[in-house]
Amino acid sequence: MFRNQYDTDVTVWSPEGRLLQVEYAMESVKQGSACVGLRSNDYCVLGALKRSVSELSSHQKKLLEIDDHMAMGIAGLTADARSLAKYMRNECLNHKYVYGDNIPPAVLMSDLADKHQRTTQTYVRRPFGVGLLVAGVDPQRNSCHLYQTCPSGNLYEFYASAIGARSQSARTYLEKHYESFPASSKDELIVHALQALVGCVSGDDELTKENGSIAVVGKNQNYILIEGEELQPYLDKLEIKRNDDDDAEEEESEVAEAMET
């Protein structure tokens, strides 16, 4: 699969009908640390496991505010994510000025997916090396939504999702519990997000208030970020606090962890 003659340019098809550069970009997302998203009818919660380069460094921020009604979680190249966040924030503000209302997340995500796709069909550019989980509230329909984009330009809407390293464990947890989400309270959703993240920590590490992070948007809830001390009460509610090696379903990846978060 890797290192063959069809993978140098994004504009080259492989004989199997694949765009290898796009697939390599999607690999970059899998290297980033985990990010989960889930929603009920009234709230949408994003959770992230923040990575730090060394004991001396801070933990890299993974949840960004796009607007009062929209939050974004990232996995992959942080710099690419920041560029996309800047674009999205600008679109939100512009929409607010012209139409006097929050941009419907579906409209923005649709444009964002097109922006991703364009990079897969141009000779001089490369795909964005980041996967996004975007939580938003649609002002017209008064409904909560969770979207996922990937470097290929595909756009998906989810009840719950997880991306990044060891995220399969989170997805399995979410699949098991997602039917209870629509009726869950905000706090229950947050605990579910953190419980899903516990499965994504590597080896002996734990989910703590330093490396955990939660963002919430909702129908009557502007964007809030819960980190540090504020996160501890939710961590205290977790049933399983450590990730047993028996549960790990993905091999741990140690490649290029310095570049991505």
Partner: protein, 237 residues
């Protein structure tokens, strides 16, 4: 290379009057198009319905109204076709967002000293509540229960303010508007008795065919009958 700037309106429409009643919004406008003091066309609609949900009416320069309608219809079409979601799900332009959009357009044009010379009226019904707003050529916006552009501001507004209640029925609202349009016909020399009524409710958005107001009693008014002052039965004083 000099850019032209709007200096004065040429082909114009006069007042648009509107009110919120119990269950919807009613607008009224005559169908006269004036060319200065010449009555150019007697059957020109000055209100349109956008995406079967929002009413847009205008007084002032008619060509600017036509341009605005063209842009707004394109916007409404883009709204229903552009996003991925719109393939599966209905997404339409709301009255309030149209009102905001027009504000941005009007303000930008005015800031370039080249305004659309109109007073625009936007009406709709969303989130179980009626919406009625105006935008002027400077980009000023007002959201009100009672609106009247042009001469309507002087002649119709006092009548509306006196007679309006939040729980007006459709019949009462219609009678009140027709009364205003009649007064405008009598006293606005750029107005006609051929009018259209437009209504938007939760389920409907329609504009009536033009019809003539009954002004057969106009000359029978008391001020027209008796001599007042030096002049003889001509309505003067």
């Amino acid at each position: 290379m000099a850019n032209k700037h709007t200096t004065r309106p040429i082909t114009t429409g006069t007042s648009v009057v509107g009110l919120v009643y119990d269950g919807g919004v009613l607008l009224a406008a005559d169908t006269l198009l004036s060319y200065g003091s010449m009555a150019k066309s007697f059957n020109t609609p000055r209100m349109v319905s956008i995406a079967d949900r929002v009413l847009l009416g205008a007084s002032g320069e008619y060509s600017d109204f036509q341009e605005i309608v063209s842009r707004v219809e394109a916007l409404a079409l883009a709204e229903t076709t552009q996003s991925m979601e719109s393939v599966y799900d209905e997404r339409t332009l709301s009255a309030k967002s149209l009102w905001n959009y027009l504000r941005a357009v009007m303000y930008q044009k005015r800031s370039k000293m080249n305004p659309f010379w109109n007073d625009l009226v936007v009406a709709g019904f969303e989130n179980d509540a009626p919406f009625l707003g105006v935008i002027d050529k400077l980009g000023t916006t007002l959201q009100e229960n009672l609106v009247a552009t042009g001469f309507g501001g002087y002649l119709a507004m006092p009548l509306l303010r006196e007679k309006w209640r939040p729980d007006l029925s459709e019949g009462e609202a219609r009678a009140l508007l027709e009364d205003c349009m009649k007064v405008l016909f009598y006293r606005d020399c750029r107005a006609s008795a051929r009018i259209q009524l437009a209504k938007v409710t939760k389920d409907t958005c329609i504009i009536s065919e033009p019809y003539e107001l009954d002004h057969s009693n106009g000359w029978n008014a008391p001020s027209m009958q008796r001599a007042v002052g030096d002049l003889d039965g001509d309505g003067g004083w």
